[in-house]
Symmetry: C2
Subunit: 414 residues, 2 copies
């Protein structure tokens, strides 16, 4: 795409009320627009990144047999009364509204109830299980405070997968598998090195659940690192002697290292809570009714986008890993539009994603914008580079550039 066509421009300043680093950079670089605290619109560059993150997650969910759906935001009160979660005393972050012709509604902050109800139409026999269902869509949470940019939204994107299994044993096989699937996603997003499987409190059914926590000073959580090699940690707020005993943790409390971290995913064993509430049963081989065993697996593409920016930036801007960068190459012409145009066409012909800065502004402005936006490779075509035999290529996270012959660029970057 030609940058002269892209409607967004970079900005020197983020809005004064924006305190988070990820949102400041993403707003200044033109990826998102702040509508209010905790609610951001995605502009072309930002939507591209969000879609790439979502598609990585989607591929991994499909690979374990996940079937994709899209449930409604509008949730009737009656559905949530079945589990007691309609009450504002039980769930303190509902957005609620009402129908013109009567009836109270909430905006989905999660979808266990909604899906358990749907599955009553489709689960009858043991032959129908296990089944894994997910969606990627917006959720709404009426947060009192929302100061972490994309990392704590009132309106945000979520991938929520729900598993429906015959037995606790069958569930546990899938639950363990999902730990690896999640780590594979974090690996593809370039976050694996800093991400810990973290023991935390279990919610209503089981004693423990697992979170995935990525080390970052921008995080709202604190973890104790148990095993740096195996990437195992415990959430500080849930840490106690019982955990040490239950997990056979061989540690000296005095030696524990404490780190700030971002929660980038969580997986829960839900047991029979929702299947009992909605009478979601199947007939076993003996024709007897049994409750379905459920699990849920959350991961927010928009929070991940914020976390990736927190992990990958310097004083000049964002440094996108290639997997979710809006473009692979930032092609910059310094008064050499004819040569640059040739390179641009050659890259497009080879299906290499390129943003071509064809604007009539100064070299300094172009370099500053390029560093702020953070595309992985920068190619500069200038009088000097042509005299040196081609174009200058530099990675965003490296200082030194090198000259590549124009005819070799597409081949080299493919």
């Amino acid at each position: 795409m030609k940058q002269s066509q892209l409607f967004t421009k970079t900005q020197k300043q983020a809005p004064k009320d924006e305190v988070s680093r990820n949102a400041q950079l993403l707003i200044r670089a033109g990826f998102i627009n702040k509508e209010m605290a905790g609610a951001y619109s995605y502009l072309p560059l930002g939507l591209s990144v969000l879609n790439k993150i979502s598609n990585i997650i989607r591929e991994e969910m499909n690979a374990v047999g996940g079937q994709e759906v899209f449930m409604t935001v509008l949730q009737p009160k009656e559905t949530w009364e079945k589990t007691g979660r309609w009450s504002d005393k039980v769930v303190d972050n509902w957005f609620k509204t009402s129908l013109k012709n009567g009836g109270e509604l909430g905006l989905g902050f999660t979808h266990e109830e909604s899906l358990a109800k749907i599955m009553k139409n489709y689960i009858y026999s043991y032959k129908d299980l296990p089944v894994f269902i997910y969606q990627i869509q917006e959720k709404f949470r009426n947060e009192e405070r929302a100061k972490s940019g994309l990392m704590r939204g009132r309106e945000f994107f979520m991938k929520d997968l729900y598993s429906f299994s015959l037995t606790k044993e069958e569930h546990e096989l899938f639950y363990e598998k999902m730990k690896d699937v999640y780590m594979k996603v974090f690996d593809r997003l370039g976050m694996k090195e800093k991400t810990y499987v973290t023991i935390s409190s279990g919610g209503s059914f089981s004693k423990y659940s697992y979170e995935f926590q990525t080390l970052s000073e921008a995080g709202e959580d604190t973890i104790y690192i148990i095993d740096k090699n195996k990437k195992i940690a415990v959430n500080k707020q849930d840490f106690n002697d019982e955990i040490i005993a239950d997990f056979n943790l061989n540690l000296n409390k005095k030696d524990l290292v404490q780190e700030k971290s971002i929660e980038v995913g969580d997986i829960y064993s839900l047991g029979f809570k929702y299947s009992e509430a909605f009478n979601l049963t199947y007939k076993d081989k003996d024709g007897k009714d049994q409750f379905v065993f459920m699990g849920s697996y959350g991961m927010s593409p928009s929070r991940l986008m914020g976390a990736i920016v927190e992990l990958n930036n310097d004083e000049n801007g964002i440094i996108w890993p290639e997997a979710m960068a809006p473009f692979k190459i930032h092609l910059i012409s310094l008064g050499q539009n004819e040569e640059a145009q040739k390179i641009y066409e050659e890259l497009e012909k080879n299906n290499i994603e390129v943003l071509y800065d064809d604007r009539e502004i100064s070299a300094g402005e172009k370099f500053a914008d390029s560093d702020l936006i953070g595309i992985p490779y920068r190619i500069v075509v200038s009088k000097k580079s042509l005299e040196n035999g081609g174009a200058e290529i530099k990675k965003r996270n490296e200082k030194e550039s090198r000259i590549v012959k124009i005819k070799d660029i597409a081949k080299e970057l493919k």
Copy 2:
């Protein structure tokens, strides 16, 4: 995909309160689930259709230079007070809610205000125009009645494009172009023959606007057909002598043919209404501030999905046109799973989308399901078909099948 893996099953009956034909069929065939009147969840088959329709629209919006964004559902009151549209007396179908820490919010039923506000960050000079921006996402309208299935939703998908032009003249060139773009989309969706460009009242800025109306008994609108060849009509509720004069319509009122129709799109000249409210201006060549001239262009992928079902069904079920069918081929094995499996693998290898009915149920049930789901091509592998030299191929909308050699199937259907 193997049908034994697909979690949805067909149902004999739709919910009793569902009166629309499109929703009845889509629910029974397992494409959608009814959460309440006007709000449906999309199950795997339905999400696939919705995505295919959305992608056709997306391609055509990109082809005219549209840049895709994703704006927030949550809309602060302050934004909408600028145009007076926060008032329930002006807009009678808001869903409203409020923030825990104070502040009223509405759920976006459209996004003119939101985008005009965003564009203030990006439009400065005449060089920044024209620009065309769109999104595909859910909208929320608190409809008193919602009885037309996917065709009138309280929560529904919308493609809304907004144009920002230098002048009325520049706007009108794009506005006229969009009429053709819309007809191209309807052509790709197999609806062009029945779709009329329809003159209707213009909203707040211009005297007239255009709707796109598709003939169907299931429609909520009525149009007068002005020119059957040129596909021009007038919305009955806006028809009067002034229209006859303004458009030079050469007609005899007594001869007018009246038809029921579904509104499948609308395009508006917004003029300066929103740019004045948000002081959205640009500097012209003389350095003088000028208001931006806006237009909006709506089209709902979910309503289109409902309309397509209304236009394409028979007593046995849906008949999907190929462009948005969830699969191209429904492969049915009647006790010949070994041969069918070979065909399945061959089709998948050739990237031909196939649903393979490998379930152990009767031939009658398989055929009934196949007709209800409505995939364009049906391939049956049975003892009889193999004796006759291959598999039976039949289109969903044809009665007669023919035998094709197994080795030729992929080649023939590619």
